[in-house]
Symmetry: C2
Subunit: 456 residues, 2 copies
């Protein structure tokens, strides 16, 4: 890794050049580099924490004057219990993942002695833009090296000293390995983001990890593809046949397990038939966890009937805007879903319509005892993740068993949902022949065999 004061263009060109060397290294060389980074970071713990303390001191001043939020301050702190060790363990976890490069997923004999093969290969150069958390730099460097991609990293200014310390250590560690130093570059220049977003000749993919504003900015400005989700507006629909205890458990987990996460629940849809039988228990459990409820008229009326006066007094009226707001906080919007007489599917169809028009196509769930209702809901909604009878919080690369994730994508191309190493790969086609030309084939000539071959 080089800590670069080079111009964005110089950094990007150097990354592109080294990416071709990195792409040809065997997995043993890439894993050896991860081992070297792990050991060097472990040995330099004191220096890194000292640098982190400098960032923290500045940040505390900004927080005291109200310029910085306390949650950013918390994320900055590398000395919190277990955080440094988690960073080191993260590198080992990536090291242990299967090699994602060179996996053959198609082999076809086009004709005698003319064999086509499709195999995975790295994308090339990634631009990864992230905000405060300093440990992310080690995590991302590991993912990039494992996947044989070069990466340009641009971190938030609050973590500058931590980033510099970590990148100096990584740089020294890489110097003793086969991974080219320019493969991972930390750009610290201010205002480097916009020029980098225009360098599509060198940079193949942008991955913004941070606020919705950052993601949207990249989507508007980038000349290359952007992988990321701007919003996580997750919905959950309680159907008329839902189990009450399950509804309580799943809604409470979806809303409160980590309210600031993109996969936390933001809007609860409730079938009119269970407004008085299930919703009050759900509301009691949420209020006990300090969740503020913003209700439509019918759900509020039902709750007022069944909740104690002091709890009912905590209810708010929902506005239209509440159903399109990602609260990222202990606030939940509630809306009643009605059935049209003589149309058994009308309620689930109304829920589908709400999710498709108000949600962000991230993760949406249903609680129902009926498989056919769940299927209708899951087929109808246009979401990356469609969950039946379980919490929206399961939408996560670790929980899905991907080992690690670079983020959760609401893109409709390339990668969607939790993105692991697979999302950092693309494929190439290799065709080996024995002198064939295309003019030999076609009407009057030879015919293609197109015989599927076993993968090797």
């Amino acid at each position: 890794m080089s800590l670069t004061n080079a111009s964005p263009e110089q950094a990007a060109r150097a990354a592109k050049l080294s990416s071709r060397t990195l792409a040809t290294l065997p997995v043993s060389a890439r894993n050896a580099a991860l081992d070297a980074i792990h050991d060097a970071l472990a040995a330099a713990k004191d220096d890194i924490l000292a640098a982190n303390t400098k960032d923290l001191e500045l940040a505390k001043k900004s927080a005291a004057s109200g310029e910085l939020s306390l949650s950013i301050l918390k994320r900055l702190d590398l000395s919190r219990k277990g955080k440094f060790d988690d960073m080191l363990q993260g590198i080992k976890n990536v090291l242990d993942l299967e090699d994602p490069v060179g996996r053959v997923d198609l082999r076809t004999e086009l004709d005698d002695g003319l064999v086509l093969q499709r195999q995975t290969c790295p994308i090339g150069v990634l631009l990864i833009i992230f905000e405060a958390r300093p440990e992310v730099i080690a995590n991302i460097a590991s993912l990039a090296i494992k996947s044989a991609n070069a990466a340009i990293l641009k971190g938030g200014k609050e973590s500058t000293e931590s980033f510099k310390a970590i990148s100096t250590v990584i740089s020294k560690a890489l110097a003793g390995t086969e991974v080219p130093n320019d493969s991972i570059q930390l750009v610290t220049t201010r205002d480097a983001v916009d020029p980098l977003l225009e360098l599509s000749q060198y940079i193949d993919l942008v991955i913004p990890r941070g606020s919705n504003e950052l993601v949207r900015h990249c989507q508007r400005k980038a000349h290359m593809p952007v992988l990321g989700h701007a919003d996580g507006l997750c919905n959950l629909y309680i159907h008329s046949d839902a189990d009450k205890d399950m509804a309580v458990d799943v809604v409470v987990d979806s809303k409160t397990e980590y309210p600031a996460a993109c996969n936390a629940l933001e809007t609860l849809l409730v079938h009119e038939d269970v407004l008085e039988s299930i919703l009050p228990a759900v509301a009691e459990a949420l209020i006990a966890k300090d969740v503020a409820l913003r209700c439509d008229e019918r759900s509020k009326a039902a709750l007022i009937k069944h909740l104690s006066r002091d709890k009912a007094s905590l209810l708010h009226d929902a506005t239209d805007a509440d159903y399109t707001t990602e609260f990222l906080d202990l606030i939940l919007a509630i809306r009643t879903i009605s059935t049209t007489p003589d149309n058994a599917n009308s309620a689930v169809d109304a829920a589908i319509d709400h999710v498709n028009t108000h949600g962000s196509h991230h993760t949406d769930a249903i609680i129902t005892a009926s498989k056919s209702v769940a299927d209708r809901y899951c087929n109808g909604i246009d979401s990356a993740c469609k969950f039946w009878n379980c919490s929206t919080r399961f939408c996560d690369g670790m929980r899905f068993g991907f080992g690690t994730e670079v983020g959760i994508s609401t893109n409709k191309v390339h990668a969607r949902g939790p993105v692991g190493l697979e999302g950092l790969m693309i494929h190439e086609y290799r065709l080996s022949g024995s002198g064939q030309g295309a003019a030999m084939y076609g009407s009057g000539g030879k015919q293609f065999k197109h015989k599927k071959l076993p993968l090797v």
Copy 2:
């Protein structure tokens, strides 16, 4: 299909709405729609050809005044022998392809009664922009319906009458099927492209099929991903151990089988050891096919020595710009590749370097008797398609056995190389549980099983 005079926003919103219905239709309903379109177009052949004649008459006037190229005029003509039948057969071919929707490629038991499944689904709404060829509209409508994607089609103005006639027929045919009419919309409004490229809330992917200028314009302006290749600057390297006859056959096919195609050869790299043994035979064969050769100093000197005086007089000096020019014509740039003493890999590495810095990462080939040299070349170059001992012209969806193609992508994400139906799909995750919450798992709680299940 509706032939719409609606605003770009109205058309896009209608496409988005209908895309959710289309996404839930079984393959039988989508195939029935393709059958209906096929039969209706066959029945309306005379009307369509009459409309095409109007386009042709206007185009002939433009061609006569030099405003339109003769090649566009040729592509416009639907009455050319076999063209209408090929269009009809193309619909049948798409109909016969396997259903690309709902293919399960991952199943994991996260825990007892908590099963994750990944399956293919349509992308949503495609914006397909194309130029003169009128039959493309039927081809693309078929691909969109088969893949359960809605599509907004914007055709070149030269084919307006043909497009209107075809889309009217398709619209009537779809009216009798389950495929919503708004799923396929033809936009004829002038200047609709730029507004459409900003509607990322409705349109998920842009596929420009046409000139490099059109593709670059979309890449710069679109707020959503763009699938396409701007350039096809293909290289072929003749190594020192190449077979002479094979080199002649493969180079001639790559350059002359269809010089205007993106997969045609544009630059020939020749090892210095075979400048006098192989290159003269290659040059003779190319000159016999009217190919103009633009040579560097050493290759020109070698050819002057071995060609007859009248043929040698046809050689041109190459400029630097020739090695970055996609001629799309009977012109070939030639460059000598040298070996550094005591470095056996230096020549192939120099060829790799030329390809990576001058090419367009589309299709690049090598002629060599050595598997290890071919592997070094293919590993080193950053190309969608890497060919050994065969023509660059094989880079094609039909020839690869994909049945059809929507184009050839030089993108580094989503789809790369010839893109078939697969490139019009993305995946979704479905998780079914029995009331699980995420808070149950983790330190002190339950552990995930992450057990791989067989695909069903």
